[in-house]
Amino acid sequence: MKRRGHNRLRTAVVASLCGLGAALCGIGLWTGGRARADVNGRTGEILTYASPVEVLFSPDGTRLYVLCQGSAEVRVLDAASYAAIKSIAVGREPRGFSLSPDGTRLFVANSWDDTVSVIDTGSLEVAATWPVGAEPSSVVEDRESKYLFVANRISNDVAVLNAQTGAEEKRLAAGRGASYITPAPDGSRLYVTHVYPNFKARRTGMENRTPPEAEITVIDTAQAVVTDRIPLHSIAHGFHVAFSADGRLGVAAQLHPKNLVPLAHLEHSGAFADTLTLFGADVGKPVEIPLDELERYAVRPFGVAITADKSRIYVSCAGSEMVTVIDVQRLLRFIHTHQGPYAQDLSASANYVVARIAVGHDPRGIVLSRDGKLLVANRLEDTLSVIDTRSNVLSKTVPLAGPKQLSVLRHGEQTFYTARYSFQGQIGCANCHIDSTFDGLTWDLEPDGFGRDIVDNRLLEDIKDTEPYKWNGGNPNLPTECGPRTEKYFWRAENYDDLTLTDLVVYVRSIPLRPNRWRLPGYELTPAQDRGKALFTRTVDKFGNPIPERNRCSYCHSGPKGTSQKSFDVGTKKATDNSGLLDTPQLINVALTAPYLHDGSAATLEEIWTVFNPEDKHGRTNDLTKDELNDLIEYLRTR
C-alpha cells in the first residue's frame, strides 16, 4: 500500500541516511531503488502502517471501528472475533471520529484535508465529504442531529455545521489547538480540549515566563454557543475527556510542563507532571491530580475512559506505553481529605492508582466494551491491546493488517514518542514536540546556565537542511542534537544505541510539512500577500535609501525554507542572554508557531516589529505603515 508523498519521504530517507556519516550508518543505504534490512531487520523502505489512533464500538456492540491515521482509513472489525469486515478510505491524516447518536453515520475528521468524511454505517461507504476549518481533529453530532461540531486545531475554533447538509453555520472561538470534543452524558454540553496553551496578550513583557494557561471550552449544544471555559492553570496540552455515566465526574487528560525552572532536574521530576483535571459535581471546583509516581511515570496521558459503574478510570499514557488504572472511590476520598495542590506530588498517585498495564507503542484512543473489555489503539505498533477490566490484565493483543516489518522510519518514530530512554522514563521527544510539532512554550535549558538563554521551542516540520540547530546555532547537525546533547541535557540517562539514533534522526528529518492554510490553491498570492512579498524582498526603503543586505528580510530568511542557516544579531538580546548572535530560524509554517523570537518574547508576528525592532536591526521595517506591516505578515503566513 503506497500513498502520496512517499516519493518525497523516500528521498528524505536517502538524504538523511547519507548525511549521517559512516559511524552512524549501520543500516543499509538505498541501492538501486531497493532497500535492504539493517542488522536488526529494519528496512529502509517506506511502508504504510495503519497507525490506529482511535477506536469505537457500534451502538449494538457488534462492530469495532478503528481509525487508522497512517493508512487514512476506517477499519471495520467484528467486535467479537476482531476479523476485518471492511476498510473505508477517508482523507489524509484522520485524527478523530465519532458516531452519530443513532449510530447510522460515522464522522471522520481528516486533519490534513480540512474535511469531514461522513460514512454510512449501513453500507459502510463514504456518503459525503464536507469542508471544514483548518486541521479538523475531532467531530461530534448533537443528539437532535441538528449540528455537527468540528474542532479545528489550527484555526483554534469549533466549526458548527448543519448536520444534514454539512453547510458551515458558524465558528466558535475555542482555545489554541482545539482538538478533542467530548459530549456530556446527557448531550447538553460539549467539552473541548486543546493541545497547545492559550495565547497570552502582552501586559508586563514577561508573559513568556509565566505559567501556561489552557482551557476546556464548554459549548451548549442546543444553542451552539460557548457558555463557559474551565481554566486549566499551568496546563499546556490537553487531550481526551471522559465522563461518568451519571455526568457527575469529568476527567481530562493533560500535560503540566515545568518550563519555568531550568530543565536540569529530571532526576527530581523536573520536566513535566502527567496529570488529570477532575471536574463536575463529584469534585466541586476543578482539581488537578497527578498520575506519576517515582520511577513509574505516566507519560503523556491521552485517552480516558470511566467504567459504567464509576469504579475505575482508565488512562492511556502514550510515552510510557501503558494504561493507568484509577480507583474512583479512593480518588474521590483522597481529594476530599487532602488539601491541594498536589499536581506535582509524586506520593499522591499511590492513593488511587491501582494498576499500570503495559500495552503497545504510543497507545492513544481507548474504549470500554459492554462486557468489560478495554480496547487500546497502539498507534506505532498497529495493534489493539485488549484489557480485561475485571482483572486489569492484558488479555490479548490484536494485530491489524499491514506491514509486519519494522521500517527505519517507524522505528525512528517509536523512538521519538517513547519515554523509555529518559531517566526513569519521564519524558520523550514528543513531550515538547506535540504530535511532532512544537509546544508553544519557552524553556530554560541547562547548558547555557541556569536562568540564561531562555529559548522558544521550534517547529520540527520539514527541518531537513536547516542546520545548524539550537538558537545559538551550536549544534551542527541532528545526530549531535538528538544524540549526545539530548542524552546529557534532556534524558540524563544512557541514550540510544547508534542504530536507534540513526533511525530517530531519519524520522526527525522526514517529519513532513503540513499544508499551509494561508496559501491559495496553485500557490498564487492574494493582493495583500503579493504586496507583502515585495516588502520581504525589497532592497530599497520607502525613502529610496538602499537597505543593507543584512537588514533585508530575504537575506537572512533566504532560500525555500526561509533561513540562510547563518547567525545574526537582530537586536533582541536580553540581559539574560549570553549572546545576541542567533541562528536564523526557518519560516516554515511560521503562522502557527507563536510565540516568536528566540525567547518567545513576541506573542505575535506583529510584535516582532512593533515592539522588538526599535532600531531596525531585525530588518528595515520602521519606515512601513501599519497596513504595509500587515501585508508583510500576510506574506509570511504563506511560508
Binding site: 476549518g133 496578550a201 510584535e607
Partner: protein, 368 residues
C-alpha cells in the same frame, strides 16, 4: 426582540392617530382632535455605582437576551439575574474605558472597543487585539460591528476588518478609500454594505459585493450653516451611523440625516423634534423609526412624531415631551427619566430600552 418591535410597529401604525398618553401596546383609541400622538412611555430605573455599575460614565450599552452589557469609563459591566459582573484590565480587557460594544449574534461573543484596543469576550474569556499585537489600525476604537465572519472596526486611525476565519486584518484609510480624515467614529455593517461615520470626512459606503467605495459629504462643505437642506448629508462631522432596512441613519454634531439610497432627509432642532443637533449616537429600528442620543436628551422618532426623554434642562425633573407632525409640542406627565441628558448609547430589550448616559445607565420599562 424583533417580534416585539414588529408588534410595536404594528401598534404604532394603527395607533398613530390615537391620543393622550396611551402606552404602546394598549388598544388604540379613537382620535381626539388636538390631542398629542401616542408615543411610548417608559418608567426609567437607573443604575449607578451605588447599585453595582462599575462607573457612572457609560459610553455604550448592549443587550444580549437577558444580559445587558455596559461599557463604562472604568470597565465593562454585565448585568444578569439582578447582579453586575465587572471585567477590567486585570481580566484581560484592552483598556478600562469601553467606548463601543457589538454582539456576534451567532456565537454570543461580545466585542468591546476601548481606548486601548479591541477585546472579545467569549464564554468569559477575553482576547485582546491592539495595534502592537495585531493588525488593528489603532488602539482607540470608537465603533465595532460584526457581520458574518467579519469584525469591522472604527478607530482613530482609519477603519479595519478582521476576518475571523483567516485572521487577516484589512485596513481602510486615506491610502485606499476616499477617506480624507481618518478619524472613524462609527461603523454599521451588513452582508451587502458597510457604512463608516468619519469625523470630518462624511459618510463612507463600502459595497461588499463590488468592493467599491462611495462617499457622501455635506453639500455645503464644512460650513455649519445648512444652505441646502435635504440635499445630502447634514454635516461632515459624522459621529454615528446605523444601516437598517436599506436605510442609512447618520448622526453628526450638527444635526442628523436619513438616506434611502435616493433621497436625503435632514433633522435639525429648528424643524424637528430633535432636542439637540449635537448627536452622539443614532440607532435605527427600521426604515422609518430611529432613536437619537444627544447632549440634551434621548429622542425617539416614529417617522412622523417625536418624543424626548430627559431630566428637565432647567429643573432636572423627569420630563417627556411629544412633538407632532405639525410641530405642536405636548408635555407628558412622567415621574422618571434617563439618568442624564448627555446620552451616549441605546439598545433594546423586547419593548424596553437601555440607555447609556454620562451619569448612569438607564433601563426604560415600557408602560402599557
Amino acid at each position: 426582540m424583533k417580534w416585539a418591535w414588529n408588534k410595536f410597529a404594528m401598534v404604532l401604525a394603527t395607533g398613530l392617530l390615537s391620543v393622550g398618553t396611551v402606552a404602546v401596546g394598549a388598544p388604540p383609541n379613537a382620535p381626539k382632535a388636538g390631542a398629542a400622538p401616542v408615543m411610548p412611555r417608559y418608567r426609567f430605573e437607573n443604575f449607578t455605582t451605588a447599585n453595582g455599575l462599575p462607573d457612572n460614565h457609560v459610553y455604550s450599552v448592549l443587550v444580549d437576551g437577558d444580559r445587558v452589557w455596559a461599557g463604562t469609563d472604568n470597565g465593562l459591566g454585565v448585568y444578569e439575574n439582578g447582579k453586575w459582573k465587572i471585567y477590567n484590565t486585570q481580566d484581560g480587557l484592552a483598556h478600562r474605558a469601553v467606548l463601543t460594544l457589538a454582539l456576534d449574534k451567532r456565537t454570543g461573543d461580545v466585542w468591546a472597543g476601548t481606548m486601548g484596543g479591541l477585546s472579545r469576550v467569549s464564554g468569559g474569556r477575553i482576547d485582546t487585539y491592539t495595534q502592537l499585537n495585531s493588525g488593528l489600525s489603532n488602539d482607540v476604537v470608537y465603533g465595532v460591528s460584526v457581520e458574518g465572519e467579519n469584525v469591522w472596526v472604527a478607530t482613530a486611525a482609519g477603519a479595519c476588518r478582521l476576518d475571523l476565519h483567516t485572521g487577516q486584518w484589512s485596513l481602510y484609510n486615506e491610502r485606499n478609500t476616499p477617506m480624507i480624515e481618518i478619524w472613524v467614529y462609527g461603523v454599521s455593517a451588513t452582508a451587502t454594505k458597510v457604512y463608516f461615520a468619519v469625523w470630518g470626512s462624511g459618510l463612507l459606503e463600502y459595497d461588499q459585493r463590488t468592493g467599491r467605495w462611495d462617499k457622501y459629504e455635506d453639500p455645503d462643505g464644512e460650513n455649519e450653516m445648512v444652505l441646502f437642506k435635504d440635499q445630502g448629508l447634514i454635516h461632515e462631522i459624522v459621529t454615528s451611523v446605523s444601516y437598517v432596512d436599506n436605510i442609512v441613519w447618520a448622526a453628526t454634531y450638527f444635526g442628523d440625516s436619513r438616506y434611502d439610497g435616493r433621497y436625503w432627509h435632514n433633522f435639525l432642532t429648528k424643524d424637528s423634534g430633535l432636542p439637540s443637533n449635537f448627536t452622539n449616537f443614532i440607532k435605527g429600528i427600521d426604515a422609518n423609526r430611529a432613536w437619537f442620543c444627544t447632549d440634551k436628551g434621548l429622542a425617539y422618532y416614529d417617522g412622523v412624531n417625536w418624543a424626548v426623554y430627559r431630566p428637565s434642562l432647567t429643573s432636572g425633573k423627569p420630563e417627556m415631551t411629544v412633538r407632532d407632525a405639525k410641530g405642536n409640542v405636548t408635555q407628558v406627565a412622567v415621574t422618571t427619566a434617563p439618568a442624564h441628558n448627555y446620552v451616549l448609547g441605546i439598545d433594546f430589550q423586547g419593548s424596553d430600552i437601555w440607555v447609556a448616559t454620562a451619569k448612569g445607565l438607564s433601563h426604560g420599562i415600557l408602560q402599557r
